[in-house]
């Protein structure tokens, strides 16, 4: 369960201050498939970063599974990121000099999973995503769809309960975009809360709930 209570995020200092989020309150239940839409600069990525514990709110309270994130130490927040949240970043955000296998393995390394288990889990994930044939390739030697699958596999491998995807189809052609969206829907069906940030209305229309944000404020809460 995700609960945001009057979240404000201000970037910059003194006269250069920019209010990226302005009193956002929101609840997302476990297992929901939600899309956040809005024009560029509306604050959707900032909202996603705060939900993903990657950024701190300037004001307000954020609860994840009844734990108040805004009151936790940086170290505890890192643990929450490690245990509960999976990210699919815009433009894939894969480590360029690491193979598909090594990219997917990363969250397990962070969790100190034993080598044999890691190998088994990564290979299973590669098979499940249909990218076993590119496991030894670096991102530069993969197609856009393969890269996004690697990114999703990486996000899922640690067994996260919340999957955050920032423009997951933005860098893909339409057909591959549809495939990736279908993959995210499958993941959601297995019980994972999926939050997608997009500016593509066609994608948003395929989610259970659409949250619209404009100038840092929620204008439509689905």
């Amino acid at each position: 369960m995700i609960k945001l209570d009057n979240i404000v995020k201000i970037y910059g200092i003194n006269t250069e201050k920019k209010r990226a989020l302005d009193g956002v309150s929101l609840e997302i239940a476990d297992g929901e498939l939600v899309s956040i839409i809005g024009p560029s600069g509306s604050g959707k990525s900032t909202l996603l970063n705060i939900i993903g514990c990657m950024d701190e709110a300037t004001e307000g309270k954020y609860f994840l599974d009844n734990t108040e994130i805004t009151s936790l130490s940086k170290s505890k927040i890192e643990d929450i990121r490690k245990d509960k949240i999976g990210f699919v970043f815009q433009h894939f955000a894969l480590m360029d000099y690491y193979t598909a296998y090594e990219n997917i393995e990363l969250p397990l390394l962070i969790k100190n999973v034993k080598r044999a288990n890691r190998k088994k889990m990564v290979n299973e994930q590669l098979e499940a995503m249909g990218i076993a044939d590119v496991k030894n390739n670096i991102p530069a030697k993969m197609s856009g769809g393969q890269r996004q699958r690697v990114a999703i596999a990486r996000a899922l491998i640690s067994g996260c309960s919340v999957l955050l995807a920032d423009e997951p189809t933005g860098a893909l052609d339409q057909a591959t975009g549809r495939e990736v969206l279908s993959l995210l829907k499958d993941i959601n069906k297995r019980g994972t809360t999926v939050i997608i940030v997009t500016h593509d209305m066609n994608i948003a229309a395929q989610t259970d709930r659409v949250i619209e944000i404009c100038d840092g404020k929620i204008v439509n809460n689905g």
């Binding site: 990657m54 990210f87 970043f89 894969l94 360029d96 000099y97 690491y98 990363l106």
Partner: protein, 368 residues
């Protein structure tokens, strides 16, 4: 092993630059160590050449007179050597060369030989012209019938011993005569000097009585001679600094500092190259300290790999008889210096990454 190498060379260009810088670091460190060891060994040989009890006599004669032949009469403690700025013309070496001349022997002399014996200490008659020279001087000798000779003041001297030490070149440039086996020309040249520096030394006894006798012996030949003497208790001025300066120790130190600075600059480039990787790792919950630890392991792996490469290269060059300009002597000092060199590079390389990683916001780097 495969994964270690993969981690080390993931960022190939940076890794190669780092290894090259490290190789230069090791060259400068071992080069400097070599210079230090040579200077240290030379100083050790110099100290070993000093007698426990020493008296230095400065004699200015009033006329050209042979007092040296009588100087040791009835002196029964210590050895006397004519040293100082005493020089003779050696034909093979060209021009005047600084020499020493044994005047009186009562105990073992503090000269170090690598072969042969000291002049005047042979079994046969001591009237033969004999000389002992250092390794470097010996190279210039002429060989006649398998024997080596120097022509000094127009007289031929057989080289009966080679002075030298296994560890340093302290003895390599010395020329040693014995008054009991020098020719007339040398004696004439010596007598014409009129200013002499005589070293009286003993490891076994006090020299006061010997000095009194020598003083009397000189005065009995030349009453008007000016004799000044002083007991020497110190080890004299150390030669280490001069030796190190002569062998360009500073160049090694400056090169080392530049390499360490280079490693610092490279670490900055490394971080720029890896910032996306670190941002992703942080985003997935990796703690700063673990990221720093991974970098530290990476740097140490590269340092150790460079060291292995350096040692392998050194051994290979030695096997091929190619001069490296330094010798690696495995000693506690060498090990400590190597560890210190790695530690300095390690610290220099880690400063910027540590600062950067702790300041790092993954949001800004990934652009999520």
């Amino acid at each position: 092993m495969k994964s270690i190498f993969r981690n080390m060379f993931r960022y190939k260009l940076t890794a190669v630059f780092f290894i090259v810088a490290q190789l230069i670091v090791y060259t400068t460190v071992f080069g400097a160590l070599g210079i230090y060891n040579r200077a240290y060994d030379k100083e050790k040989d110099r100290l070993l050449s000093l007698y426990k009890n020493r008296i230095e006599l400065s004699v200015i004669t009033s006329k050209k007179v042979d007092f040296l032949t009588y100087l040791g009469n009835d002196v029964d403690t210590g050895n006397a050597v004519l040293a100082g700025k005493f020089s003779l013309g050696v034909q093979e070496l060209g021009g005047l060369n600084r020499c020493e001349m044994i005047l009186k022997t009562n105990e073992e002399l503090n000269y170090k030989l690598i072969s042969g014996r000291l002049p005047g200490q042979g079994d046969g008659a001591s009237s033969e012209r004999e000389i002992a020279v250092g390794r470097e001087k010996e190279k210039q000798a002429v060989v006649i019938d398998g024997k080596k000779y120097f022509t000094i003041e127009g007289e031929r001297y057989e080289i009966v011993g080679v002075l030298g030490s296994e560890k340093s070149d302290y003895w390599d440039y010395k020329i040693l005569l014995n008054i009991s086996c020098v020719g007339q020309n040398v004696m004439t040249a010596v007598m014409s000097m009129q200013e002499y520096s005589i070293e009286l030394g003993s490891n076994t006894g006090e020299l006061d009585a010997s000095y009194s006798k020598i003083y009397g012996n000189i005065r009995s030949v030349d009453e008007a001679s000016d004799i000044k003497a002083q007991k020497i208790n110190s080890a004299g001025e150390s030669t280490m600094e001069n030796t190190m300066a002569r062998e360009n120790m500073k160049v090694n130190i400056i090169a080392y500092i530049f390499c360490v600075l280079n490693c610092m600059i490279m670490s900055e480039f490394w971080i720029i190259q890896r910032r996306k990787e670190f941002a992703i790792k942080k985003a997935f919950g990796m703690k700063n300290i673990r990221i720093v630890r991974d970098i530290a392991v990476n740097v140490l792996e590269l340092s150790c790999f460079s060291l292995v490469l350096f040692l392998a290269g050194y051994i290979l060059l030695r096997l091929l008889n190619i001069s490296t300009g330094f010798d690696i002597v495995f000693s506690p000092v060498t090990v400590l210096a190597t560890i210190a060199a790695i530690a300095a590079v390690f610290l220099a390389t880690m400063i910027y990454p540590v600062y950067k990683i702790f300041k790092f916001n993954p949001v800004h780097q990934i652009g999520a």
